[in-house]
Amino acid sequence: MAETEKIQERGTKQKTVLKITDMDPKFKYEISKIPGAEKVMLCFQCGTCTADCPIARFDDFYRPRKLIRMTQLGLKDRLLSNDVIWLCSTCFTCIDHCPQDVGIASIVRALRNLTVEGGRMPVGYKEQASNILKTGYAYVISDLRLKKRQQKGLPALPKANLESVAKLFDITGFSKTLEKVRT
């Protein structure tokens, strides 16, 4: 890292001093109840996840180790308002490499889920969710494409059971979430 960048980083750090009132000590328990995120407290901050993360190599802010520490500290508001959590590409390298079996990618998923419950969701995900509800597929597959399938000798694409899909969206409570979320 260039010296100037180091100085800049120190500068930002000074501006973002942590206050005890920013922390929610119960947040880690809330997270540890979510399937896949149970072991959040086992992280001892070795940094293997960040070192091996392909996204962290290309982004200045995405640091899985830091996200886990912030979760342990209970910096809930900062985590759930931070777009950086949407950068995990779910390659699961961190899950495989973690010496404590923390399930980092699953914890990031839990943070994303909570953000959505709180009413915010990236537009791309909202689009795909709406497509699934409307067509059963994550994309709207046009009639032209369906026709081309036939021309290429492929069997017709099975029609999804939209009634069942809609019912599942309702029972899980996800259709309500989808109605109220902002992008």
Binding site: D59, F92, T93, A129, Y137, Y139, L168, I171, T172
Partner: protein, 292 residues
């Protein structure tokens, strides 16, 4: 002997963007005597919903698994994302009673119940494990010995090892061995198991394109003539996006990216037209020349 009959889980990306993968898969599997049963009423595997609602993902995936259970057939997925999710949910529901109860609670409303009677496999697992290298070798009529390629298995067919456990994610060899059966040489290159970045396209395009560019750079460095994939999303990153990557970074790669069954098909002597090689964005004419 295992009966070679599977329920084909097509997923969304293949019918939407990459019929070439489906066409070539059907061609080679019929030559290998693998029977594919169309999966009626299937829906999205659930992968795009995991980041927004974990329960919704579990339920959608479980519904697909129940459809397969009703037919008493194992699922074969062509997409790493679909395989990863369906396999993960299948194993998790088999092992974790609590999660199974929750999911079955949802499924009850649509008259379904997860029982845990089937398996989920990826195309490369079916080929390597069920069909077997010997049988594939017998169908190779036109060994591609002049061809030097590289593999890109992608992430969700190998990771997390806890749920897949088919091979070492740091050194995946299944696709490599499947390539070698065709007679082509499969070269090693730097950062082979690295992610393509596709899942975050839409949230951030810059990072995935940088990742893809880096991979193409490593592939060019070893002098590979083509790249072989087994996932539609990885394929889109390297094939469909290659001209965009060349434009943005002002570089020239021109590396054709073939779906594995296209390569296998060429070695079986199936014509490039039948394998939909023309559908590829990066022109693969040179590969066809080398192979014929």
């Amino acid at each position: 002997m295992t009966e070679l009959k599977y329920l084909l889980f097509l997923g969304c990306a293949i019918p939407y963007r990459l019929p070439s993968y489906e066409i070539s898969t059907r061609k080679v599997l019929s030559k290998l005597g693998v029977e594919l049963v169309e999966m009626p009423e299937f829906n999205c595997c659930g992968f795009p919903l995991d980041p927004v609602n974990h329960d919704m993902m579990l339920t959608l995936a479980a519904r697909n698994l129940c459809l397969a259970e009703q037919q008493n057939l194992n699922i074969m997925a062509l997409c790493n994302g679909c395989f990863g999710i369906l396999n993960h949910v299948n194993k998790e529901l088999k092992e974790d009673k609590e999660i199974k109860e929750t999911v079955n609670g949802y499924l009850k409303e649509i008259g379904m119940e997860f029982k845990g009677t089937i398996k989920v496999k990826h195309l490369i697992h079916v080929l390597a494990e069920d069909v077997g290298f010997e049988k594939i070798k017998e169908t190779v009529q036109n060994p591609l010995s002049q061809l030097r390629v590289v593999q890109h298995s992608g992430c969700h067919v190998v990771r997390p090892a806890k749920y897949i456990g088919f091979e070492d994610p740091e050194n995946p060899t299944t696709l490599k061995k499947l390539i070698q059966v065709t007679g082509a040489k499969c070269l090693d290159y730097m950062d082979e198991p690295e992610c393509c970045g596709a899942p975050i396209v839409g949230v951030n395009d810059k990072i995935p394109l940088q990742l893809a560019r880096e991979k193409l750079d490593h592939i060019r460095a070893v002098g590979a003539q083509a790249m072989i994939t087994c996932c539609p999303y990885c394929h889109i990153m390297y094939d469909l996006n290659q001209p965009r990557i060349e434009r943005i970074f002002n570089e020239k790669f021109g590396i054709p990216v073939l779906h594995y069954p296209q390569l296998l098909g060429l070695s079986m002597g199936i014509s490039p037209e039948e394998l939909a090689l023309k559908d590829l964005r990066v022109n693969a004419a040179e590969i066809v020349n080398i192979c014929s």
